[in-house]
Symmetry: C2
Subunit: 137 residues, 2 copies
Amino acid sequence: MPRMTRQRSAVADALAQVDDFRSAQQLHELLRDRGDAIGLATVYRTLQALVDGGEVDVMRTADGESVYRRCARREHHHHLICRSCGTTVEIDGPSVESWAATIGAAHGFRQIEHTMELFGTCAVCAARTDEAPHAPV
Amino acid sequence: MPRMTRQRSAVADALAQVDDFRSAQQLHELLRDRGDAIGLATVYRTLQALVDGGEVDVMRTADGESVYRRCARREHHHHLICRSCGTTVEIDGPSVESWAATIGAAHGFRQIEHTMELFGTCAVCAARTDEAPHAPV
DNA sequence: CCGGTGTTTGACAATCGTTCTCACTTCTCT
DNA sequence: AGAGAAGTGAGAACGATTGTCAAACACCGG
């Protein structure tokens, strides 16, 4: 059975303090900087345990890194992520869920699951870009 | 400018012969077995070039491997993949596209992009499972 | 057909995220 | 306190991918 340890709660704490996706290595560095001595392997192990327990969401970045995030809702949901600053909005899409089930069934597939993420530029970052003068092309 | 070489066309050929997602290493092995001497690095390079040229789709598997597939349609589309045999069906989802755009806009995001894949068990594999007697749980 | 030249190739080393190993520490329970 | 289980961490191991660089090759003009 899982045992609550200093390291375990430190990782949970770190995840509670950031509101966007972070890699295991980033979290490790964050914990070290903050004074929590912890091994990288432990960070990986703990994150994996949190994911298995459904407490944390994982996602693969375009370059194959796993990034983790403590989410408000434990149920299935998706994310809208700013590609510039990383701000993340949790969204649910009932229409997508049913669409997926329908399409799957139409092709004779069972037990449909899906992955889906939205990327964009958030209002803040868009404004920052707009104010840059003479931006060509 | 790109130059047509034996290796280049061998990779394209191999992709034309399979109809599901394959990893670079699988394709390399397939080519070797088939008698085409080719370096692994070249396979990676060629696949990357094909992806950049929009001739091939890439996808990351759950365990972080990149898998490639020659797709019939060059426009944006999604996949419905059998998690058991890998059979892939190309699908497009106008409703999802517009849903994504709407949700993004509602949160003030611009230039929305998205990734999305469907996984399931295809009819053939489902049948194979069903016929297994006494399947518990 | 022949040579020049810029591209491509491939064996191998290097990278990088992640997982494994294993001796050591820390709990928990009695 | 003592035994045994669970957790930890430094470093080794791993596996996919990318970089390196000399040798091989495709394409061009003569």
